[in-house]
């Protein structure tokens, strides 16, 4: 992929701030005693509402959903900030945000009890962050600046050594 140096580094900045946001969302939830996604899941609207509500209703699944959400956010956040397994992290982030978006989509005529700041029509900040992560995913941002650059170099380097 060929990008201008400025564009490449701008995407690195984009990746780091998204990672920061994920990391704090995860840690803040982990710090909240008995945090649960139940409230958010229960107010699900739209075509997948049934699926999300069934997650909240299942006493066996809900603890897993909570853990995956909290630790998923932390892991994706760390990956994005450090540029470590960036493609994997951004894909994980895309999946998580897609879930958040589809659970409470800001479609016309839906009103939620757990409030979101700002005014949204179909597009909300979840969707913007998701789109930004797609850019991060596609541009190998970790190879510009991030641990991926070192990891990649080490793997390649070892390959060379073996060849030699």
């Amino acid at each position: 992929m060929t990008l201008s140096r400025g564009a490449a580094f701008a995407i690195v900045v984009l990746r780091v701030v998204i990672g920061w946001h994920f990391l704090y969302e995860g840690l803040a939830k982990l710090q909240t005693p008995a945090w649960s996604a139940a409230g958010y899941l229960q107010q699900a609207r739209g075509p997948f509402a049934f699926f999300f509500r069934s997650l909240a209703a299942d006493a066996n699944l809900l603890p897993w959903v909570n853990q995956v959400t909290m630790w998923g956010l932390v892991a994706v956040g760390l990956g994005l900030v450090l540029g470590c397994f960036t493609r994997f992290a951004s894909l994980g982030g895309i999946v998580l945000i897609l879930m958040f978006y589809l659970c409470n989509p800001p479609f016309v005529g839906y009103f939620y009890a757990i409030p979101t700041e700002g005014s949204y029509l179909v597009v909300n900040k979840n969707l913007v962050e998701l789109a930004a992560l797609v850019v991060v995913f596609l541009t190998r941002s970790g190879h510009v600046a991030g641990l991926d650059r070192i990891i990649h170099g080490l793997v390649r380097g070892r390959g060379r050594l073996v060849q030699a």
Binding site: T2, L3, R5, G83, G153, R160
Partner: protein
């Protein structure tokens, strides 16, 4: 300038070198962002901690000469947790033990919480073992299902402990009277958890507004309710199921019954007892009388009879003979719609008191009837706030006030706010009584009177007729 900046130098150069200096620098270039994050997070955490400490500092620290009271909690479910949270804010308590048959969940959670607060606590599955081992205990707080209250309370009293037992005192009057007898025989304190009896707002209304100022005049009617929205049954993850043998040993037929015991006959008393008992207790308290008759309509109108036995809907009318004359009190509880929540509304010939335990909804409003004597004296004394001027609603409202309609009365507020958890003052009253500094606000006898009043509703629904109370029914 278009560059491919994504390939490591080594690769770009096509050499066998592992990594260039530039690769390492760029590779680590975002690590400082994580450092910055850590710094910001630490700042945020210490800010939150300071906020918490400031909130806690409002509570006086335990005086040095405060003799610690050794406490155990029996029953660490949802209600036990509420009581525990409130007790953790009371200085001078030393938690020694927790007991719950759901060892993998309730017990573990409560023990972990207490360990976090640096208490050396032991967890027990069986209360008898707790009483055998913990000889040093002064007091036991009981928040088990209603049908266990009598056995637990009597055993603790006989072991020489003071007891705070959640309401309803018992699911049977026989159990409740055994509790009263045990308290009398042992001379130990028994407080029943009708916590409104210690709520400063309710005390202010009872002692000052109704007792001293008599703001309502003669109370002729009362109404109140607890409406609760439909809620799914409580469940439990498979990995936390209690073994069947243990469930049976402690009187439960299934995990569902254990989790939802309030709905089962022989275990709890249904919504009229769970919810109504708090408020009907206030009816007796504020009217200063016991009812002479009760009629009630109720049934299992909505919920699945396979998993629910008690009435999900109950509408009750009590008849009282108060010192001022007859009064009628309506109460309803239903579990299909939560509109307007819960409140008690006392209506006298001079004013109305609308009150609830909630700080958010109906936290104490008084309405003076236009013909009643002025309340200026009580406003000056700070018993009630100055009236709120009710502005005329929207000019465009086309409705016309019929001359026969009453003018809406002035609204005053009860200027007492409880900033602590709702159960805290009642628990404090219990521990103060142990130290000899207070009298119990809801001793066993009062809990018994309340149980007599409330349990009769289920009887009246079943009988489909107006039932009467004899004055001696209220004496244990």
């Amino acid at each position: 300038m278009a560059v491919d900046d994504t390939k490591p130098e080594a690769e770009a150069a096509g050499s066998g070198r592992k990594l260039g200096r530039r690769d390492v620098l760029l590779g680590l270039s975002t690590v400082p962002a994580l450092g910055l994050f850590g710094y910001a997070w630490q700042k945020q955490r210490s800010y939150e901690q300071r906020q918490r400490q400031a909130a806690e500092a409002v509570r006086p620290a335990a005086p040095a000469d405060l003799e610690p009271i050794d406490v155990a909690l029996v029953g660490a479910g949802a209600q036990g947790q509420v009581l525990l949270d409130a007790m953790l804010r009371i200085p001078g308590l030393r938690f020694r033990a927790v007991c719950d048959i759901w060892t993998d969940f309730n017990l573990r959670r409560a023990v972990n919480t207490l360990k976090k607060y640096k208490f050396e606590v032991t967890g027990y599955e069986d209360y008898r073992q707790l009483l055998d081992q913990e000889k040093e205990l002064d007091a036991v707080v009981i928040a088990t299902p209603d049908f266990w209250h009598a056995p637990h309370t009597v055993a603790c009293l006989e072991a020489g402990k003071h007891v705070y037992c959640e309401k309803e005192m018992s699911n049977t009057l026989e159990g409740a009277s055994r509790m009263v007898a045990a308290a009398r025989a042992t001379g130990k304190l028994l407080q029943i958890g009708h916590q409104r009896r210690s709520n400063p707002r309710y005390l202010h209304c009872h002692d000052k507004l109704l007792g001293e100022a008599k703001l309502l005049g003669r109370i002729v009617t009362v109404n109140g309710q607890w409406n609760r929205a439909v809620a799914p049954d409580l469940g439990a993850p498979d990995r936390y199921q209690i073994p069947e043998a243990r469930l049976k040993q402690f009187g439960f037929r299934s995990m569902h019954e254990f989790r939802n015991w309030r709905w089962y006959k022989g275990k709890g008393g249904g919504p009229i007892v769970d919810l109504g008992s708090h408020q009907i207790d206030v009816y007796n308290w504020f009217l200063g009388a016991f009812p002479s008759h009760v009629m009630a309509s109720g049934g299992l109108d909505y919920h699945d009879p396979k998993t629910h036995e008690w009435y999900d809907t109950a509408m009750v009318v009590y008849e009282y003979e108060t010192a001022q004359g007859p009064a009628r009190a309506y109460y309803q509880t239903q579990t299909t719609n939560g509109s307007q929540g819960y409140f008690e509304n006392f209506m006298g010939d001079q004013g109305t008191l609308l009150i609830s335990e909630s700080e958010a909804n109906y936290p104490g409003r008084l309405y003076r009837d236009p013909n009643a004597p002025a309340w200026d004296e009580w406003i000056q004394k700070g018993y009630v706030t100055a009236p709120k001027i009710v502005e005329k609603e929207a000019e465009e409202d086309p409705s016309v006030l019929d001359v026969r309609e009453s003018v809406s009365p002035d609204e005053h507020r009860v200027p007492v706010v409880l900033r602590d958890p709702y159960h805290q003052p009642h628990l404090e009253n219990f521990f103060d009584a142990i130290r000899g500094k207070a009298r119990l606000n809801c001793p066993a006898e009062v809990g018994y009177e309340s149980a007599v009043t409330v349990l009769k509703v289920n009887e009246a629904i079943e009988a489909k007729q107006r039932l009467s109370f004899r004055p001696e029914d209220f004496k244990a």
